[in-house]
């Protein structure tokens, strides 16, 4: 403490010296200045308006001349002060710690303001003596703390001060004199009134400016670091006030201030922008809310749903913008050709709702389906190549889907590979999970729920990693479970196969002779399997005792395998239907020629000039158009699927919840916690439903361009409906577990489905010839002939030649080989990278653990030493004296722990550096 005091007094002396020094300068320069000021006093008064306002009371009493003189001196001592400040700064740089000490000593000054006002009053009284008054003003401008110091300072400080002043006076005064000379010169010039202020600035040489800047920087640093110091506001205020004088004077400081405030604004803007960005993500708030109540596994489903929605948006944009709209706007209108007209026999029922609901009638003969499109090569004034566009969009949607899925998978793998440091998982969750910006009670509730859920998730993980009971038993159980599941799958597969074969037999014999069950056997068996097998799997999976996340993946995989059977039957049925339609088509083709011959035969003899086109397009016989049939099947499937999903949701979840809730009051047992209870959200079933639905879209989009639009609608509705259903009638799972946000497993399944669904689509496109009288490719032997046609007629000849060369097997095969090589190379490099990564991670982990161990060992050692020292001290103290024994522990404990810096005045906690602290530590250690 004494040292602090000494420093404080020194620095105070320094500051006082400056204040006195200013006065000196004023006195020196006073004489010469008074004459010049008479002319331009007025303007200067305007410039110094701030100063003059502050002294309005004085002005009223004093003479005009005095006033002007005073102002002149104000100006003068400003320049002089600048000089002084530079000195101050130089000294500051030398002893920064001294300054801190000074600030600490300044802490106890409370009523600075009072002092100031008092002096101002006194000023008014001592109006007559100008010199004295001026001195006071100078003091007012000075740091008020220093002012008080001067008052308090006793006489023994004075000699030293005066000595210092004398030492420094010569050089500084000479400097100021030279400046005053330059200023008076500029003053004498007629236009220099305004420039005088500039002269003050302008007279600074570059070096001086540099110094000034440095000083300002230093101030800035002090202020900036002050923010980081755990001082109470009182102390900060004192320090700030001392720097305030500087701030008011230095125009340069303003720049820093501007910069600082700009920073603040920028930060605020950034935060707002982030908020805006999250507000722009659709359904983000809903998903977060669900996540907070139901855990990340349920949220992962909704995130997946949203991702799917985005993909479908793109698919819809492609098909709608490049296929449907051009045909609707620029193609031939409805009723112009047979394929665009409802046939005569269907006309009566074409507008019935039942027919439309089944996508027959007018819906069938519209842009929604393949058959409506004309094979005209270019349509409209844009010469839009519609068949080409149709083909390219069909290929493009599939290619885009592949690209997106694979890219997302790769990115997710990247994220997983990066891995988060989980060494402080629980502590971070405990200490950093609360968001201090929350002010809304609802948000706060959500946050509480989400924190609880996240803790539960983490606890489940932890318990899982701790669990290592009988490995052999679990292994056996798992093998058994897989065996059972395989049996189930094989059984259901055989059942499906059997049923499909039977139904084919029925179809050959004609369906009319059979009852309802025989006709709907396949569908019923499929839906029954889909209902009961997942439950069976669920029961079996309890045997395995997996972590819930792994269990979910197994469950997903098993149900996926089951659903593949569904897909398989559907595709088989469809292929059969296509074969039937094509046979029908052959017959129609033959009949067509007969019909045409009849038409000619009937018309030619009467009127040879009349064209045969007088027949209304609705009456012309036409083929069955298998493509439209396929599209219709898919659309119907999607619609029925959507309906069943919604209905099961409303009955299974909502009605159940309502019944449980309201019958609970008048029931024999507790319904809410007993048998029916509320339903849990079925993640696996919903995810698989979504994936298979998407597979249907990919398969059918080529034959029904409206499918992406329908799917978009469905996803949109189910987003809202399911969000609502989850929040209102589901309960969280018993074991909430953490699903990886990237859900690569879903993506992998999606990729498989995408592949499986593109196979039949590609097969039909490549190997089955298109219908002869409907669709954009009618009249061609294969659908992809449209490419060749375009190449031949729309591109220059050399391009076709190049293309034919490029498609030469001699070139294609080496290219494929190259591709395979590149893939192999990239894969092997990525493997090595992964391995290196893993090794590095392992190294880091072991190092961390070692460090921890080392620290713990050191701490233990220190504790042991402490103990020994204490014992030794005790024995010594028992022999001689017993006051010193707590000394050794103090030093050692104090070095090992580094508690927070003190706030200075807090009395409640025993703070570090506080005399109480070491004793406390030693006590606890002794215990």
């Amino acid at each position: 403490m004494p040292r602090h005091k000494l420093i404080a007094s020194e620095s105070d002396g320094k500051d006082n010296e400056f204040s006195l020094y200013y006065v000196e300068v004023e006195e020196n320069s006073q004489g010469g200045q008074e004459k010049q000021t008479t002319r331009d006093g007025k303007r200067r008064r305007e410039r110094n308006g701030e100063v003059s306002r502050r002294r309005a009371s004085e002005k009223r009493t004093t003479e005009v001349d005095n006033k002007r003189a005073k102002k002149k001196h104000e100006k003068r001592h400003k320049t002089a002060r600048k000089e002084g400040e530079k000195h101050e700064k130089r000294q500051r740089r030398k002893n920064a710690d001294e300054e801190e000490a000074e600030e600490e000593s300044n802490k106890d000054k409370k009523n600075i303001k009072n002092e100031r006002t008092k002096t101002l009053k006194r000023d008014d009284e001592k109006e007559k003596d100008v010199k004295k008054k001026r001195k006071k003003h100078v003091k007012n401008e000075e740091d008020s703390a220093n002012f008080e110091k001067t008052k308090q300072k006793d006489c023994h400080d004075m000699p030293l001060k005066e000595k210092k002043k004398k030492r420094k006076k010569p050089e500084t005064t000479s400097e100021s004199e030279s400046k005053s000379e330059s200023e008076s010169e500029s003053d004498s010039a007629p236009e220099s009134k305004d420039n005088q202020a500039v002269g003050v600035l302008g007279s600074l040489t570059p070096e001086e400016l540099e110094k000034l800047k440095e000083a300002v920087d230093e101030r800035k640093k002090l202020i900036a670091t002050m923010r980081g110091k755990p001082w109470p506001m009182k102390k900060k205020l004192v320090v700030l006030r001392s720097s305030c004088v500087l701030q008011r004077q230095e125009t340069l400081l303003i720049i820093s201030f501007l910069y600082y405030s700009n920073c603040q604004k920028w930060m605020k803007f950034q935060r707002d922008f982030e908020n805006f960005k999250t507000a722009c993500i659709p359904w983000e708030m809903k998903i977060k809310e669900i996540e907070s109540h139901f855990g990340s596994s349920v949220a992962s489903y909704f995130i997946f749903l949203r991702w799917m929605y985005g993909i479908n948006m793109i698919l819809f944009g492609l098909t709608f913008g490049l296929v449907m709209v051009p045909e609707a706007l620029m193609g031939k209108p409805y009723g112009s050709i047979p394929r665009k007209t409802v046939p005569r026999e269907e006309e009566a029922s074409a507008m019935n709702f039942a027919v439309l609901w089944d996508f027959g009638g007018y819906a069938k003969y519209s842009v929604l389906f393949y058959g409506y499109y004309n094979s005209q090569r270019a349509i409209g004034w844009l010469k839009f190549r519609l068949p080409l566009s149709y083909f390219l969009v069909g290929v493009g949607t599939v290619a885009y889907s592949y690209m997106v899925v694979i890219r997302t998978m790769a990115r997710n793998a990247n994220e997983e590979g990066g891995g988060d440091d989980t060494s402080f998982n629980f502590s971070w969750k405990t200490f950093t999970s609360w968001d201090y910006l929350i002010g809304n009670p609802e948000t706060a509730d959500n946050k509480f729920a989400s924190i609880t859920t996240s803790f539960k998730e983490a606890i489940v993980e932890e318990q899982e990693s701790r669990k290592d009971d009988n490995i052999h038993l679990t292994r056996f159980l798992r093998v058994l479970a897989n065996f059972l599941v395989l049996c189930c799958l094989a059984g259901s597969g055989y059942l499906i196969y059997f049923v499909v074969r039977r139904s084919q037999k029925f179809a050959l014999l004609g369906l009319e002779s059979y009852g309802w069950w025989e006709r709907n056997e396949v569908n019923m068996v499929m839906s029954l399997l889909g209902m009961f097998c997942p439950m069976l799997f669920d029961v079996i999976s309890t045997l395995e005792n997996y972590h819930p996340r792994v269990a979910l993946q197994w469950q997903l995989g098993r149900i996926f395998a089951l659903f593949l059977g569904n897909l398989y039957t559907f595709i088989i049925a469809l292929m059969d239907a296509i074969q039937l339609k094509r046979a029908e088509e052959e017959i129609v083709k033959k009949n067509m020629t007969i019909w045409q011959a009849n038409l000619y035969n009937g018309t030619v003899p009467d009127n040879s000039t009349a064209p045969p086109t007088t027949v209304h397009p609705a009456d012309i016989p036409r083929g069955p158009c298998w493509e439209t049939m396929v599209g219709q099947e898919f659309v119907r499937l999607i619609i029925s699927d959507t309906m069943t999903t919604y209905i099961t949701l409303i009955i299974g979840d909502f009605l159940r919840a309502v019944l449980v809730r309201f019958l609970n009051n008048c029931w024999c047992w507790d319904l809410e916690y007993g048998f029916p209870s509320y339903s849990e959200f079925d993640v696996s079933g919903n995810v698989l439903g979504l994936i298979f639905n998407q597979g249907m879209i990919w398969m059918g989009a080529f034959y029904a361009p409206c499918l992406p639009a329908l799917n978009l609608l469905r996803l949109h509705v189910s987003m809202y409906l399911q969000c609502w259903a989850v929040m209102c009638c589901n309960v969280p799972q018993e074991r909430v577990f953490k699903a990886s946000g990237s859900n690569n497993f879903y993506m992998a399944m999606l990729l498989v489905i995408l592949f499986l669904s593109t196979l039949p689509a590609i097969y039909t496109i490549v190997s089955i010839p298109p219908s002869f009288d409907c669709g954009p490719f009618s009249g061609k032997t294969r659908m992809f002939d449209v490419i060749q046609e375009t190449l031949e007629s729309d591109f220059p000849a050399w391009f076709g030649k190049v293309f034919s060369y490029a498609s030469n097997p001699g070139l294609v095969l080496p290219f494929l080989l190259l591709l395979v090589l590149a893939i192999y190379y990239l894969q092997s490099t990525s493997k090595t990278y992964k391995r290196v990564n893993m090794e590095l991670k392992k190294k880091l982990q072991t190092q961390n653990e070692e460090n921890k161990k080392k620290n713990k060992l050191a701490a233990l050692k220190a504790a042991n030493e402490l103990e020994q020292a204490r014992k030794a001290g005790e024995t010594r103290s028992s022999s001689s004296q017993h006051t010193q024994n707590s000394e050794p522990p103090v030093s050692s404990t104090h070095t090992t722990t580094r508690p927070p810096a003190s706030r200075g005045h807090t009395s409640s906690g025993h703070l570090p550096g506080h005399p109480q602290q070491p004793q406390k530590n030693s006590h606890s250690n002794r215990r």
């Binding site: 009072n114 006002t117 935060r271 924190i451 932890e462 906690g909």
Partner: protein, 180 residues
């Protein structure tokens, strides 16, 4: 020369403007302080009255109302440890809780906030209290126990089964989203 003049004058104006701005900022904070307890706090601070607002009033501010640690926050910023805040403490609290405050400072005060039984260590009881406040006591005692043990095991570097400030700072400085 003329440019310089204009520059100088505008700078001065800006200076005045910003001094007003800071004044208003201060005013608005004091306004907040005043409206918490209009009968206690004078608007005029020239003769530095010794005014303190009790914890119950501070805690009802919208900024703190939903915070599970509100009582601890106010207590740890008060001079007497009982939660009575003078205006300086109040400004102090806001400056630390503001987003401009550096992480180190926040770490210091976070440590104080989580140190319920002001003994300069975060021990198991402190952790249990923190957890129960964070989850509204929805975890079972065994779960709380597990989490506390894990947290201490993770962050404790010197093996004394409680977290000193060094441990705490080491842990918190690596947290990806600490008090953002």
């Amino acid at each position: 020369q003329r440019n310089k003049t204009i520059n100088f004058i505008t700078k001065q104006n800006i200076n005045i403007f910003f001094s007003f701005l800071t004044f208003f900022l201060h005013c608005s904070l004091h306004g907040r302080y005043h409206e918490l307890a209009p009968h206690l706090v004078p608007m005029d601070y020239t003769n530095d009255p010794d005014v303190k607002i009790p914890l119950a009033l501070i805690v009802n501010m919208p900024e703190l109302k939903e915070n599970p640690f509100r009582n601890r926050i106010v207590e740890s910023f008060s001079e007497d440890g009982q939660g009575n805040l003078s205006f300086n403490d109040f400004v102090d609290m806001f400056s630390v809780l503001s987003e401009m405050a550096p992480r180190e400072l926040k770490a210091i005060f976070a440590f104080k906030i989580y140190d319920f039984n002001v003994d300069n260590y975060i021990c198991k009881e402190d952790l249990e209290k923190t957890l129960n406040k964070l989850t509204k006591e929805e975890l079972t005692p065994e779960e709380v126990n597990l989490v506390c043990e894990k947290a201490i095991e993770e962050a404790d570097l010197d093996g004394d089964n409680k977290l000193s400030f060094a441990d705490f700072e080491n842990m918190i400085s690596r947290a990806p989203d600490f008090l953002r």
